[in-house]
């Protein structure tokens, strides 16, 4: 589904990504973790071409991102993305947030888009808030709307960039529950997150990044079960976040 091949990226002189290679197959849930500044967000944004990269290629469902002939908007419309800071559109109501891209990008009719949007809103447990504006919702509620907004595009894969790290602790679970449910339904997901409980529960694979490199890329059981075989940096990182 997603195949990342030898991707390298620079900001001027500074190399953010160094020769990253990995795969995400259909139905797989891959968790990406690593210390701050290690390039996790950058890598996941490369997958739907929000960030350009200078070397290598990423192929999403048969479409190459490095190919200049690729219709990027069309590709992005098939890849759902959820951001750390939700990024709902504050000038639009919840319903409008859910329907605007369906109508303007996919060309769905208003009825169809609204119908779909409300169904998904119901699914994330927020049907009653359809007429509110993003500013009137809590962080956890906003993030659930953001997930529904991405799902409304019928994505073939979902990308999450630290979806819970801007939330107050008591709201983390309401968002994770939605993500777990999604994973169990067979959605292909690539999630940057430090929620190791989530990783243990639903991930198939865990990727550990440090200083722009993919240091570890292995099955969940291997990653959590055989800690001794992990690299020093991964051990340190795990020790730090598992303390909590």
């Amino acid at each position: 589904m997603i195949s990342i091949k030898n991707v390298s990226k620079w900001y001027g002189e500074f190399q953010v990504l160094t020769d990253c290679t990995t795969e995400v197959t259909k139905g797989e849930v891959v968790v990406v973790c690593g210390p701050s500044g290690s390039g996790k967000s950058t890598l996941i944004k490369c997958v739907n071409a929000l960030e350009p990269f200078q070397k290598g290629d990423i192929v999403v469902d048969g479409t190459s991102i490095a190919d200049p002939k690729t219709d990027l908007p069309k590709l992005r419309s098939r890849v759902g993305m959820v951001f750390q800071h939700f990024e709902l559109f504050p000038h639009l109501s919840i319903t409008e947030n859910l329907t605007i891209a369906q109508m303007k990008v996919l060309g769905r009719s208003k009825e169809e888009a609204t119908d779909k949007g409300l169904k998904l809103l119901d699914r994330v447990g927020l049907k009653a808030h359809a007429h509110k504006y993003p500013g009137q919702l809590s962080g956890g509620q906003q993030q659930r709307v953001a997930i529904a907004r991405a799902l409304a595009m019928d994505p073939i894969v979902m990308l999450f960039d630290e979806p819970t790290s801007a939330l107050d602790p008591e709201m983390v679970n309401e968002v994770l529950d939605v993500m777990v449910q999604l994973a169990q339904e067979g959605m292909t997901m690539m999630c940057v997150t430090h929620e190791m409980g989530f990783a243990r529960k639903v991930a198939n694979r865990v990727i550990f990044m440090d200083r722009g490199q993919i240091v570890e890329d292995c099955h969940k059981e291997e990653f959590f079960g055989n800690v001794d075989a992990r690299s020093d940096r991964a051990k340190q990182f795990l020790a730090k976040i598992l303390q909590h």
Partner: protein, 221 residues
């Protein structure tokens, strides 16, 4: 001083005010439209576009509005002739309007640019991630938010333009000030009419800026 002659002259002065308001509204609409295009050019990744827009803004911001009005009054007929090959009788109104639009666009551009830049970058990323193209991202997501934030500044600039429309006196256009002045001269009471004109401008600008201030407070809370 004797202000009794003002009342019978009101209808004539109202015609002048209508001209002033027409210049204002069309100037603001055209200026904001052109200014928005310039702002998008300035922020674009294409260095040529952004330089051209930067030079435009720099140029118009360093010369007096009155120079632009006067120059366009002289030059627009020539330019139109070169473009169309025919003599096109265009009045002072059109040349003034073009001058206002082009001049104000430079100021509106800076306001719009700041407005766009004040929208968090993630909004653009989220819109692109949903598959929107550049035009949709700007039109549906970024500009509506930016304009909401900019409204007080745009209105303030419009109040300045309202006062500056009086400069069309230079080319003899019958705006409110000129209408009041010429009536005062005819009747032989120039002072009364001048004071009256000043009072009208003051009342309109002052109340408009009070409203803008209130709007600003409401938007910041």
């Amino acid at each position: 001083m004797d202000f009794s002659a003002i009342i019978p002259a009101l209808p004539g002065m109202w015609e002048g005010m209508a001209m002033t308001l027409k210049l204002l509204v069309l100037g603001v609409v055209g200026g904001v439209a052109l200014g928005t295009v310039l702002a998008l050019m300035r922020l674009s990744h294409n260095p040529l576009l952004s330089r051209v827009a930067g030079a435009y803004v720099n140029y118009f911001r360093s010369i007096p509005l009155l120079l632009v009005i006067t120059w366009f009054y002289f030059a627009v007929p020539f330019v139109l002739r070169w473009l169309t090959g025919e003599d096109m009788p265009i009045g002072a109104f059109t040349s003034c309007l073009v001058a206002f639009m082009m001049f104000e666009a430079a100021y509106f551009c800076e306001i719009v640019r700041a407005g766009i830049q004040s929208i968090p970058k993630g909004q653009m990323g989220a819109a692109y991630a949903l598959g929107m193209n550049y035009g949709q991202v700007m039109r549906l997501i970024i500009l509506p938010q930016a304009f909401r934030k900019m409204t007080p500044l745009l209105l303030q600039q419009s109040i300045i333009l309202f006062q500056d429309t009086s400069l069309v006196y230079a080319v003899g256009l019958m705006d409110f000030l000129n209408a009041a002045r010429s009536r005062g001269d005819i009747i032989g009471q120039p002072h009364e009419f001048l004071i009256f004109a000043g009072l009208v401008y003051f009342t309109i600008s002052f109340s408009a800026s009070l409203l803008v201030k209130r709007l600003q407070k409401r938007l910041t809370v």
